[in-house]
Point group: C2
Chain length 184, copies 2
């Protein structure tokens, strides 16, 4: 039995959304499961000094163009930039962790539903009615983000295969080869 692929993502990340539409097929191709691990880029950026892509001079304009072009390139026909961007993603991340604690089989469906609401239906998912205010869940997300930083995660999407880290949907071809060959 091989280990699952760790799939780190932020619900406010366009590349994370695109990757969420590809990761299960990629994992299944190699007989792997996906471990969905929501993180908070805002918290991670405090370590790395990063900033939201769209707010960086030059990179901002480029990234908006690249989001849409990459969606077309990867065959993700359902994508539009949300009218409010970026958003705080604590609430959906906490809900996902809460659901994971109840039944891991729920996680994939919920992750897709949140991403679809934000990047397809342009619905603000930062403050859902069903907000997860449970202190244990809040603490769980905090620990998850700290564990992600400790594992070297600094972006979204970020995939770890048997300890090997891959940043970005543009490394999925390398993930594919790594899974096929056990390392190259």
């Amino acid at each position: 039995m091989t280990a699952p692929i760790d799939f780190y993502f932020d619900f406010s990340s366009p590349y994370g959304y695109l990757a969420s539409r590809k990761i299960e097929e990629l994992a299944a191709k190699h007989g792997r499961e996906v471990n969905w691990r929501p993180v908070l880029l805002g918290a991670i950026f405090k370590t790395t000094g990063g900033a939201p892509l769209t707010q960086i001079p030059l990179k901002g304009d480029y990234s908006k163009r690249d989001f849409a072009r990459s969606a077309r390139f990867h065959g993700v026909t359902e994508f539009s930039m949300p009218s409010v961007f970026p958003i705080a993603s604590q609430a959906p991340a906490r809900i996902l962790l809460w659901a994971k604690a109840q039944d891991p089989a729920l996680v994939s469906g919920i992750a897709h539903a949140f991403y679809r609401a934000y990047f397809v239906d342009d619905r603000d998912i930062s403050n859902p009615d069903t907000a997860a205010d449970d202190p244990a869940i809040k603490d769980s997300l905090k620990r998850e983000v700290e564990a992600a930083v400790a594992a070297g995660v600094f972006g979204s999407p970020f995939v770890v295969v048997d300890g090997e880290p891959f940043w970005g949907i543009d490394r999925f071809a390398q993930v594919d080869r790594w899974l096929a060959t056990g390392g190259f």
Copy 2:
């Protein structure tokens, strides 16, 4: 007659080096020429607030691993991280522009020679004996960097095909499709 591909790069950039080993084959596949355009990331980072990848927390360790893995992935067997990194790349960039002004046919060979010296033979190319101190060439590089920023260039490698910008060797598959289809 189609326009050449604009290939922007910094001589101190590992991904720029890897891209330099692939760009001519990619362009030739679609009947295009390559316009070699050296830039200075240090100057560009003043606009974007960027920093050398290897000096950013978390990203630094990842990038060193990714340089080597990406070299293997792209079949560039000749690659090693230089013992002095990064370096100031004004001198090789100026020499390239000087050569370009003499005879454009010289540029590709000189670019490969500098990159090979740095990323294969571990020779510091920041201060070659044949330094280009000609004020006209200095000014030429300054104007090139300003033109690059004005064109939205913020990284290395950076490719512009018929006005469409692509950042990174990880976008070469998109460049390939763009050249094949005239846009997608």
